[in-house]
Amino acid sequence: MSLLHRASRRYLLQHPWLMGLSILGVAVGVAVVVAIDLANSSAERAFEQSSEQVTGKATHQILGADAGVSDAVYRTVRVELGYTDAAPVVEGYATTSRAPGQTFQLLGVDPLAEAPFRPYVEGADGGLDLGLFMGQVGTGVMAEATLAALDAAVGDTLHLDIDGRRRTLTLVGAMVPEDDASADVLDNLIVVDVGTAQSWLDAEGRLSRIDLILPRDEPALGETLAQFAEVLPEGTEVVRSSVRTETLAQMTRAFKLNLTALSLLALVVGLFLIYNTMTFSVVQRRALIGRLRALGVTKGEVFRSVWREALLIGSLGTALGLVLGIVLGQGLVRLVTQSINDLYYVLTVRELDLNLWLLAKGAVLGLGTTMLATLAPAREATTAPASTVLQRSQEESGILRRVPQFAALGIVLGVVGGGLLLLPSQSIVLSYTALFFVLLAFAGLTPGVVLVASRVLRPITGRLFGVLGRMAATGIAATLSRTAVAIAALMMAVAATIGVGVMVNSFRATVVTWLDYTLRADIFVSAPSLVFRRQDSTLDTLFVQQIAEHPLIAAASTGHSTQVRYTTPSGETTTGDLVVVDLPPQSQERFRFKAGTPSDIWPAFVNGDAIIVSEPYAFRYDVDVGDAVTLSTDQGDRSFRVAGIFYDYGSDLGLAMMSRDVFDQYYDDRRRSTLALYVKDGVEVDEAIAALRQLVPPDQQVFIQSNRSLRESSMEVFDRTFTITAVLRLLAIGVAFIGVLTALMSLQLERARELAVLRANGMTPGQVWRYVTLQTGLMGFVAGILALPLGIVLAVVLIYVINRRSFGWTLQLDLTPEVLIQALLLAIVAAVIAGLYPAWKMARTRPAEALRGES
């Protein structure tokens, strides 16, 4: 190790807190990014595995219009067409009280057709009796390891909850995986005979799909597809197996991208922290570097020396960040999974997927960010003049001269950011890039604002706190190279809390208003659905009829959510939610339309071939009023006119709505999932609920909720989906806090001599303590003041640009003074807390020691 290297390493070791905090800053930044990446990828991996387990070796699938395909289609394929590489599948989900929080995939198969597709049934151990499996409803197999985890064995029975009904599964075999990979795949699987699945899922005579293995090469594939087309009835279609997986994966794209962007914010704040630390370490050693330069150390050697220090800090910080990221990822994966389950589809993630590629990406980001942030300080170090005379280390690093340049750069970056936001693009990445420019623009303006603030505040603090107040205000500007960066880092973190906070509040307020006019009925009845925002479980038909005709009920509307294939006006074919409703006139009032007039919409909706679509749907598929959307129906493809676009905040994926009467003309699906009930005048809601509960069939789980209760549970889910956002905000503030602490500790070291002189001249430790605390409070105040406009800009961009480009929602900006006051207080309190220890240290410094020590 060279002496230069040794000197720099010892400098770092002599300032362990400076090095420690820098390492921690990098570590937290890296940890947040890695944790989010791992959580996202674990969810993705789990999703792929669950897709894999049900798809098996199938290359294609025959799908129906909405509620699957008829049994008869399977017979046609096997008998008429004579195609044997085909297997019927009925799919659903089940939970059991033996494994709380775990959702199992229920796969109904025909064991005689399964062999080419999935090895589960043939691989079932324990002497599987096929006769029993196929002949007796309620028998099935699970993986051996899962049975052990559930403390169950072949021959036992398990109680399952499926679509709100209690079912009993008799275990007649255990699946033994061939290897570890297939063990993961089998983990969440319950395989039953197709007849059992049909019975349990209320799908008598229907299949979820028919799996096919088709020739891979043309022209054989084309010929086979043509043969299928000839015999398949209207409304059925052969699609590639991967289409379904791709569609589901696409649902969470914007959700995951927004999480990643938020996690990068912590890294950006971390970047400022590193910049701050390295700048400080350079400024503090300018005299030392000057000596080395006088002794013949070249600029390149100085640059490389600083660079090596950063590499050391970056490496240690990154290594620690990866470990922390894995730990944090364990927690975040639960939050991500919860949000996906609330919003998109059923998913169980058993463990964090330690994806090496993502860890490597985290390492590159951590090291890259550190090295990037060190570029300027390292360059700054090379400008230290070779000194032959005693030089005070307090010399400012020329930042004062460069304040106008920083401000000009800030303005340029702001203009570029604003320009990018105004570009007519739907790109979310572009929006975040623009936001990044805006953040940097404010950072560029920070030194100038700090200078002005110092001058403005000096007389005020002087009047309030005397000479200490004047010194504190002046001190911020006097050590601008350190204070400005710390203030910028704190400003960014606080602005992020304002931006995200205002966005969430605005979203919340919009949803509350929306629920106010949407939830008009007195009572809501639904079967438990595993995805909160999709009501696709089935209510017992008789039960629905009894409730609708109950003497306490004045009117009822029914709803059912199903998945259908759409072809949008642009020609895009996709699968999405179709909500089928049976609306009495009073329920029509609950809709607010963004486009279309209610007097035109309702007649067309109820009597004609018209649908209405939600705002996110219109955004996602670029649909407008008057456009025609083609839906796959049981009668073949049919075109429906879009009569109106309504506001809806229940699903970011968007949904189309069709009247039950129209739906019944084109689809064979008669299921109902929800009921909205209006009680008769003079009837108490609670009384009606109690009466309705008497009608619930014994094996059916039903939620019967009052209007208020549903509203509360809706808001509970809303808040839950933003928990992860709150966690990320807190982490960004944590990194900024470390940044401010580092800056203040640095100042303490640097100003030891100055304070010693003050102490020697009669300043008491208490006064030193007040002086330092006052100064940190002022730094927090300036950061807070700067954060207000930036936070509002962030909120506006998040609400009107990023949210629209991600989900297509119209949100009303809800900016309350409380949020801004809280943010300002947060900045001051964070800065003051970060300053407590440095203030204590400074107050304790013995003047004699500080005066003697060489700077």
């Binding site: 000197a7 013949g296 070249t298 390149g300 020590g853």
Partner: protein
């Protein structure tokens, strides 16, 4: 990109200053610190440079060492015209051929005494076992061999300056520049340090330019120069004595 250091010619004088001027801009005003400085210092000479505060002594040292460039004129060390060289080349020249003794000692606080001594050798890429041993011998000569592993902050001012002297000699430079080497020391310690400098530089036959306020040092000098009105002139030693 490493560049080979410039090599002084053995037959050339240690220092030649030709028409050296240095002007600083102070607001709208130009301030001339040095004006037409002419001087030649032969090898092995011990020059004492006297001058009042602000007379330009440190500026002259910066120009001679190549740290700064003159407004006009030439600085030629061992036949190498530093004013024609790049900043990088001047740095490498300084590294190989100039030894510094500063008023504030300027030892590197994060290196031990021995490491401070070896730093110039390592920087110039000539750190061999023999060279290392020679440098430690010099440390012995300044009486601090037993403090080789101490850090500078454990040493007294006089001891720190003795290390600085040893460091200036360690890489066998062409020229030693000493800027007020006794300025931070008490009288007795200053005396010891001066005697040491005199003994060691003369013993090694080194060319030395020492900047000082201290008129008592003129006894050590082969020649005494002074800066007056921006020009370098021979000092009137008799007048100084008086």
């Amino acid at each position: 990109m490493p560049t080979a250091a410039l090599t002084p010619r053995p037959d050339a004088p240690a220092v030649v200053l030709e028409g050296l001027t240095k002007t600083y801009r102070e607001g709208e005003q130009q301030r001339e610190v040095l004006y037409g400085v002419e001087a030649t210092i032969e090898r092995g000479e011990f020059i004492v440079l006297l001058g009042r505060s602000g007379s330009g002594k440190s500026t002259l040292l910066n120009l001679i060492s190549g740290i700064d460039l003159p407004t006009s004129g030439r600085v030629v060390l061992g036949g190498v015209d530093l004013t024609r060289e790049t900043e990088h080349a001047r740095t490498l020249f300084r590294r190989h051929h100039i030894g510094f003794v500063f008023q504030a000692f300027n030892l590197i606080p994060t290196l031990t005494v021995a490491e401070n001594l070896l730093l110039p050798l390592e920087l110039s890429g000539t750190l061999t076992d023999a060279e290392s041993e020679r440098a430690l011998d010099i440390l012995g000569e300044v009486g601090l061999r037993d403090r080789a592993d101490s850090f500078p902050d454990r040493l007294s001012g006089g001891e720190q300056q003795r290390v600085a002297i040893a460091r200036a000699l360690a890489h066998d430079p062409l020229l030693i520049l000493a800027d007020e080497p006794t300025g931070n020391l008490d009288y007795q310690t200053a005396e010891q340090v001066l005697r040491l400098i005199d003994r060691l530089v003369r013993q090694a036959g080194k060319t030395t330019l020492m900047v000082t306020h201290d008129r008592s040092l003129i006894d050590l000098a082969d020649r005494v120069l002074t800066l007056r009105s921006g020009k370098l002139v021979a000092a009137d030693v008799t007048a100084l004595d008086a």
